[in-house]
């Protein structure tokens, strides 16, 4: 599924990712953990094509197709979805309009027919109910005036509606209370499937209690410095990142 090889990337001439390699097969959830400044968010932005991030070396492919040469909307149409650490507020654009525009743009790019308004609304209602969201919220401008927890739920709703093949969750647990964390995690877990991969980027192990990863990787100074099973997350929680930060340096 997702294959990253010897990736070097940075912003404004600063190298942040320094030879990162990672293989995430379909059906698996991999967690990337690391201290602040290790390059976690940079990794998510490089994979989704944010402007300003420059790849100097290496490759990233999804099912063998190069991602790095595509623009962000093309990557989305290929099935890549990034759940933002800090979801943006979009004044003047109702959430429903935004999601429907995105869904139909993706479908158009893939040569599929647009989803009709009634079918879309039905789907939105069902999924909002599953995420315990007030449907009226979806009529309001996207994320404007929403709490941190509401914004994260809105991210998961978009994820469910767009049904991506590969999910990147960037610090999805930040700003969530325990109830919201449970609802969001259930939403993520419902998307686990044999043909879908997930990259969960997180500083803390807390989210991984709810979304159990198949593999855990430690990112330090722009590289994967250790990999293991779910128990590695607990070890990091106990002992911190010092050991790896020192190794990387």
């Amino acid at each position: 599924m997702l294959s990253i090889r010897e990736l070097h990337a940075g912003i404004d001439g600063n190298q942040i990712i320094k030879g990162l390699s990672l293989e995430i097969p379909a059906g698996e959830v991999h967690a990337v953990m690391g201290p602040n400044g290790a390059g976690k968010s940079t990794l998510s932005y490089v994979l989704t094509g944010r402007a300003g991030y420059e790849v100097t070396q290496g490759t990233a492919t999804l099912d063998g197709e190069d991602l790095l040469s595509l623009d962000p909307s093309q990557r989305a149409a290929k099935g890549v979805f990034l759940s933002f650490q800090y979801p943006l507020e979009i004044p003047g654009v109702p959430a429903l309009t935004f999601i429907r525009t995105a869904l139909n743009a993706q479908r158009k790019a893939r040569g599929e027919a647009e989803v009709t308004a009634p079918a879309f609304l039905k789907l939105a209602r069902e999924n909002a109910a599953k995420l315990k969201m007030d449907f009226e919220m979806l009529r309001r401008p996207l994320n404007v005036g929403f709490s941190g927890g509401e914004k994260k739920r809105m991210e998961i709703l978009q994820m469910v509606m767009l049904s991506p093949r590969f999910l990147i969750l960037d610090e999805t647990d930040s700003g969530l209370d325990i109830d919201a964390l449970r609802i969001v995690s259930e939403g993520v877990n419902a998307l686990r499937s044999p043909d879908r991969g997930m990259l969960v980027i997180t500083h803390y192990q807390r989210l991984l209690d709810y979304v159990t990863p198949d593999r855990v990787h430690v990112l330090a100074d722009g590289r994967i410095v250790a990999s293991g099973g779910p128990e590695l997350a607990h070890e990091l929680e106990r002992e911190g990142y010092d050991k790896y930060a020192r190794e990387a340096a």
């Binding site: 989305a76 933002f84 979009i90 743009a105």
Partner: protein
């Protein structure tokens, strides 16, 4: 010192220019070097399909003269006026007044249409809104790219009256829409909103003056604009609270997006307050499109051009959304969408 008198007399030295403080960003004297010949009489102009859809009586002016008045027979709650400039390279001026009697309501849609090139047009609009009366005015400025189009609206607002105006401008070589309101307080309410969408080398100036003459007047203003290429947007908003006009509540906002290095926005919000117990506020921002919001939309699969158009339309729609009359609001949204399609 007006365009109308210069057109009438041919004395171009009467034109306002960059040395006049209120016209420094809308120089006419430096622009009009030769007096244009007077516009000829025109009997017929092409229909406007957008307005036709409203099926309301229309008063049509061509080259400054009224050529048709379907409205004179019936006193309607909605009136449409078309001000068509129909001849190339000529000049004309007009005056058209509106009076809304005490307690009455009117929706007025004014459409400025350039059906020719290089014209010079001037208009004056005296408006009286009587006690407890209500006037909502939506103005569409669709001038030709190389035209000069200037207008002045002077509103006399009685106590308890309501005047809402939304001006939608696509610019011209020089385009100025000026509104002056004499506000007699007494809970009377004025809302002066505007939208400008400017591309190429178009220029548009929205200038307002609200004079609070008596107690307890309310005034709110919101103008939003977007400029690209080498276009230039001008907003001048002046609020004067005269002595004794205590209890005045005034808010003014102007926000613009500048989409290219060579586009320009000039803004001058002014508050002049001579009373003590007054709440006045103004906000003014000029900036670029939010790149983070753009990336967010693109990362969800919306192609860049579509995402930009969506964000720009949402930005501008905030002002158009404040139009109360549903059909007029839809008209404004249609206008906006058409402008954004044309510029992309």
């Amino acid at each position: 010192m007006s365009l109308a008198s210069a057109l009438r007399t041919g004395q171009l030295d009467q034109l306002p220019g960059r040395r006049d403080e209120d016209w420094r960003w809308t120089d006419l004297r430096g622009l009009i070097r030769v007096a244009p010949p007077a516009s000829p009489t025109v009997d017929n102009v092409a229909a406007n399909p957008v307005l036709q859809a409203l099926r309301e009586p229309v008063t049509t002016y061509a080259n400054g003269r009224m050529i048709r008045d379907d409205a004179s027979t019936a006193p309607d709650a909605m009136r449409l006026r078309r001000f068509v400039s129909a001849s190339n390279g000529t000049g004309h001026s007009l005056e058209a007044s509106v009076e809304v009697a005490a307690g009455e309501r009117l929706l007025l849609i004014d459409s400025f249409e350039g059906h020719a090139s290089g014209y010079v047009a001037d208009a004056r609009f005296p408006i009286r809104v009587g006690e407890g009366a209500r006037l909502e005015r939506v103005v569409l400025l669709d001038d030709a790219v190389d035209a000069v189009s200037v207008s002045l609206t002077e509103v006399e607002l009685a106590p308890g009256a309501v005047f809402h105006q939304t001006v939608l401008a696509s610019g011209a070589k020089r385009q100025r829409f000026e509104t002056r309101v004499r506000h007699h307080g007494g809970k009377a309410e004025v809302q002066l909103d505007g939208v400008y969408v400017l591309a190429g080398q178009r220029h548009s100036d929205q200038t307002t003056l609200v004079e609070h003459l008596q107690r307890d007047g309310v005034a709110v203003q919101l103008t939003k604009g977007v400029v690209q290429d080498q276009a230039r947007g001008v907003f001048q908003g002046r609020i004067v609270v005269h002595p004794g006009a205590d209890g005045t509540d005034a808010k003014m906002g102007h926000h613009a997006l500048v989409l290219s290095d060579r586009a320009e926005v000039d803004a001058k919000p002014e508050l002049e307050i001579w009373a003590d117990d007054v709440a006045c506020a103004h906000g003014n921002t000029v900036g670029a499109l939010d790149e983070e919001a753009l990336f967010y939309a693109r990362s969800r699969g919306i192609p860049e051009a579509e995402a930009r158009a969506m964000l720009i339309e949402a930005f501008l729609a905030e002002a158009a959304d404040r139009i109360e009359h549903i059909q007029a609001r839809e008209l404004a949204h249609q206008w906006l969408a058409a402008q954004l399609r044309a510029r992309s």
